[in-house]
């Protein structure tokens, strides 16, 4: 299964947004999308997840255009930076609602909860959970329909060390079972530990597409902020 991005762009203003970009992602790759704030990382991810529509260009998965939402909705799972869960309800309810909407068996809910060590929080209200736990629930929910592609927007943003490690463990686990992962990040250790490929953006333009090892040798990385 291959993701093909062809000349997509979304312009909000001069030097703001994402300028025409094309690339392919093969099955099993873990792609880190990096760049400064406002570089276009989240815009790209939101276009891939159908949250926003590109001004121009096409995105296809195995020839299926992303505009045909119904055809691709079970193929792509998206985890936004801020988990968009139903706060009033329990963890179990959140997962069950999406299982029903996807037509997935309800046994999938317990399977996900077990997989992500969330069984003990099944009846806990989402609003009572820490940010890290919410993020785990959000990742779990995105996997309800067993999608081949998983998109994560800064999955460890604002998490403490333990929760960050837990998210890394989950991402590695998902990669092992053959899922293709694209994620945005600001953290060099995430790129080193998780990514098999880097897409680096600057001011909405794709500046680098290659392996992490090559990326860390480029002036793009060396001239970037101390964090990157």
């Amino acid at each position: 299964m291959q993701l093909a991005v062809r000349s997509i762009s979304k312009v909000y203003g001069p030097e703001k947004g994402l300028f025409p970009v094309s690339f392919d992602v093969k099955v099993g790759e873990v792609v880190a999308i990096v760049g400064h704030n406002g570089a276009g990382k989240s815009t790209l991810l939101k276009m891939l997840s159908n949250w926003i529509q590109p001004d121009y260009g096409d995105i296809t998965i195995n020839g299926l255009n992303l505009k045909n939402r119904q055809a691709v909705v079970k193929i792509i799972g998206f985890v936004p930076e801020v988990p968009n869960l139903f706060d009033f309800f329990s963890v179990g309810y959140n997962l069950k609602l999406f299982a029903l909407l996807f037509g997935a068996p309800l046994s999938r809910v317990d399977q996900i909860l077990e997989e992500f060590n969330l069984l003990s929080f099944k009846k806990a209200k989402v609003r009572t959970l820490s940010k890290g736990l919410r993020q785990r629930v959000s990742i779990g929910r995105s996997l309800i329909a067993d999608p081949a592609f998983l998109l994560l927007d800064e999955p460890t943003s604002g998490l403490d060390v333990d929760m960050t490690r837990e998210v890394y463990r989950m991402m590695i686990q998902m990669h092992k079972v053959g899922r293709t992962i694209l994620f945005t990040t600001h953290r060099p250790e995430e790129i080193k530990n998780l990514a098999t490929r880097i897409l680096a953006f600057s001011k909405g333009v794709l500046m680098f597409d290659g392996t992490p090892a090559d990326y860390f040798q480029t002036p793009l990385y060396k001239n970037s902020s101390p964090q990157l």
């Binding site: 949250w51 936004p80 968009n84 706060d87 609602l97 909407l101 996807f102």
Partner: protein
Amino acid sequence: MKNIFILLFHDFAFAIKSKSIYLVFFIPLFVFASEYLLDQSKTEPEKLKIAVVTTESGSSPIFQMLQEAGKKVEIIVAKNEAEGRQLISDHSVQAVVLGTNPPSKQLSLIVLRRDSVETLATLQLFSALQRIHEKNNPSWISEIKSLREGGLRSLTLTTWILMLVLLVGFIILPAQVAEEKEKKLILALLQTPINEKQWLISKILFGILLSLASIILLMFLSRFNPKNALASFAFLALGSYCFSAAGIFLGLLCRHQASARTLGFIFYLPLLLPSALSDFSKKLTVIAPFLPSYQFFSPLHDLFFAETSLTAMIFPMTYLMVLGSVLLGFSYLLMQKRWLMNA
């Protein structure tokens, strides 16, 4: 279809969890309690209570007639005018009769409000007593027929119903939709096989069912049975459709729940008051027909109390249907502008 019902159940669960549903069901209970208290005060009294100020009463024939009309009136003696006024303020009597000094054939009457039902009943009583005393012919007016039948409970029922439908449409739905938009929950739902049309249909159904459920509760507590129940509920559903569509549109226009509540309230009162008060003001009767709420309120009143059929309501029905559908269409267009949802 299955997904629409899942979302509909979810919407009800959401309204229960966010406690907004209690607001809708509180109003019928509040109305019931208020009407119960109003009934205790007997807005159309069977036996009038009239205070007579003894020091001034003298031997007027009017007082003698009052004493003799024991079945129709209960006489309470007051020492002076101040005590009589206090008795009226306490709702212990409906009127105070003051004599003149020196005694004459005419008396003064003190009432709480000149235009109240009690004052009218008191004047009718004195008129009847005067005719009996003077052995005159029967009154020129043999019967009074009113356009608006029923007591206070019936007269206010349509106002309460309008209030409920507007509450669901302009307060509850915009807040719920805006919250789903603010927390990007709509986007989460649109990551599933749900599409925009299904989401809108479930929200409209939620608005209609919530309005109808609260109206049924109100009718049950008020012991009101519409004579043409099918036509009445069809019209109620149509009105709920129109105002729910307006609420969804408002909710999608707002970025935050708080702004949706404010905007909803800005529409709520101007739609409620002119229509509900149109019977009491000539100016409002001219203005109110331009409001969509009046196209719901006035035909509903006729449907309940004048037994008008639905066929006589083609214009308001078409008006509500077209307005609701146009607003729903705009909501669909807004949902397709995903950047608005993502803002």
